[in-house]
């Protein structure tokens, strides 16, 4: 009886495996199609709407006392974020209550030198009334989350290597 049960179980498992492989290939194909449909040449780069939503959430969290959740929730690397946040606090630079406006958005290509990103060019005002322009990045992590490489957008700028970059 035990042998028969195992055989049935084995057959079921094989069928399940075939189904899973099929499902996996289907999902993979779907993900590729979705990435291609967003108009970008870089699969996985967040859409303009996703990047703007991240900026909106970053701005909301930046208004909280001590920016408690900004680095944990928005930043791709919380350590980097906390370091830059410390620099901003030391320089007494804080964001105003108004969310920065988006001037344009671009895609930084996914290359050997950098992770593909949606880069928003933004203009905003600081708490002391001064205005600034800069860039805010949005990337899709390997875990599928949308995060920023410069979550402290009111103080840090963002840079990519231009496509014309050539090794020295």
């Amino acid at each position: 009886m035990a042998t028969i049960r195992n055989t049935r179980l084995g057959l079921g498992v094989v069928l399940a495996a075939v189904a899973l492989v099929g499902a996996g290939l289907f999902v993979t194909n779907e993900l590729r199609t979705t990435a291609a449909d967003d108009g970008s040449q870089t699969p996985g780069v967040p859409s303009p709407a996703e990047a703007e939503a991240l900026l909106t959430e970053a701005h909301r969290l930046a208004q909280e006392p001590n920016h408690r959740d900004l680095c944990q929730t928005i930043a791709q690397n919380a350590e980097t974020c906390q370091r830059v946040l410390k620099w901003a606090e030391e320089a007494h630079v804080r964001p105003s209550a108004d969310r920065p406006s988006i001037l344009e958005d671009n895609v930084a290509e996914n290359t050997a030198a950098q992770q593909g990103a949606r880069v928003l060019r933004i203009r905003g005002t600081l708490a002391d009334g001064r205005s600034y322009t800069g860039k805010f990045s949005a990337v899709r992590t390997t875990a599928g989350e949308i995060r920023s490489q410069n979550a402290v957008y009111w103080y840090s700028d963002f840079a990519t290597i231009s496509s014309s970059f050539t090794p020295a």
């Binding site: 179980l9 498992v13 399940a16 495996a17 899973l20 492989v21 996996g24 290939l25 993979t28 791709q76 690397n77 350590e79 980097t80 370091r83 830059v84 620099w87 320089a91 930084a108 050997a112 030198a113 950098q114 992770q115 990103a117 600034y132 800069g134 990045s137 990337v139 390997t142 490489q149 410069n150 103080y155 840090s156 700028d157 963002f158 840079a159 990519t160 290597i161 970059f165 090794p167 020295a168």
Partner: protein, 294 residues
């Protein structure tokens, strides 16, 4: 073996198979295998390739042809790369890095005396991912870096004094072959050899000597110019090795150690140069320098 564990194995195998097919397709049609994974092992070239092939087999149960790979030796580093692929190089002291240009200007308008450095907006750089050379969608390690430039003002100043700080966090991901992080490097450098660089001189730099910390501790960096200064701190584990060049701005911060998979390591430095002219100072930032091994 329970049903649950059988299903777990099947799920894992399915995921690997799907990922493997995707990886192999990507590798063949994007040419994305021009990334290298550095291994630091005192072994023959044949042993190095065998080690790599075996690890790929053990991890993904996939077979790759050892004849498709070659070994490149550079100074103290060893690269295992697919044949026909040339590593993308920006080299500084034997470390592959990527470069980006910047410029810092002297203080504008009325001069006011300040004790502390005045920093411009820092720049954070796009994450550099180090991919597995065989499976390009598998990220083995990453580096996040930021840098900032500024100036120091003081009474009686002639020309002006620029300050630069940078730091970088590196880590292996454990998504692939459970590499350890062996090196994490970032650097500043001058632009070219002529023009304005002739009017630059070193003021100060930090760290000044190779520093070792165990357990991990905060390393305070500081530069002083005519009694005024700037400070910067990083979290240091194991060894930070500064490499200062003769040319002003030529400075590399090289973390070296053996960090377990997924453990983060930080490198950074703080430097200052004097410009005899009231002109801007162009500079280069080098980042993403990593070595991973077993």
């Amino acid at each position: 073996m329970t049903i649950r564990s059988k299903l777990a194995y099947l799920l894992a195998a399915t995921a690997m198979l799907t990922g493997l097919m995707h990886d192999l397709a990507s590798a063949s049609d994007t040419g994305a295998t021009n990334l290298v994974v550095r291994g630091i092992m005192p072994a023959t070239e044949s042993q190095l390739i065998d080690e790599f092939v075996n690890r790929v087999h053990d991890k993904w149960d996939a077979s790759i042809e050892r004849d498709d790979y070659r070994v490149i030796r550079e100074l103290n580093s060893v690269l295992v790369v697919p044949k026909g692929v040339e590593p993308l190089h920006v080299q500084s002291n034997g470390v592959d890095m990527f470069q980006i240009s910047g410029a810092v200007n002297p203080p504008a308008g009325e001069v006011t005396t300040k004790e502390d450095a005045v920093w411009n907006r820092p720049v954070c750089l796009a994450r550099h991912n180090l991919a597995n050379p065989v499976f390009p969608s598998v990220i083995e390690a990453w580096a996040d870096a930021c840098y900032a430039a500024g100036y120091i003002q003081y009474p009686g100043q002639s020309g002006w004094d620029a300050v630069f700080k940078q730091y970088q966090t590196c880590a292996t991901t454990g998504n692939g072959l459970n590499y350890h992080l062996k090196q994490c490097t970032m650097a500043f450098g001058p632009v070219g050899n002529g023009g304005g660089i002739n009017f630059l001189d070193w003021n100060d730099w930090s760290p000044k000597s190779t520093t070792y910390m165990n357990p991990c501790s905060q390393l305070n960096l500081a530069v002083s110019v005519a009694g005024f200064g700037a400070e910067h701190a990083i979290s240091l584990c194991e060894t930070l090795n500064p490499v200062k060049g003769e040319r002003p701005l030529d400075f590399q911060a090289n973390w070296a150690g053996d960090a377990p998979t997924k453990h983060h390591r930080e490198t950074g430095d703080l430097i200052s140069v004097h410009n005899a002219l009231l002109s801007g100072i162009p500079y280069q930032v080098y980042y993403g320098g990593m070595e991973i091994g077993f």
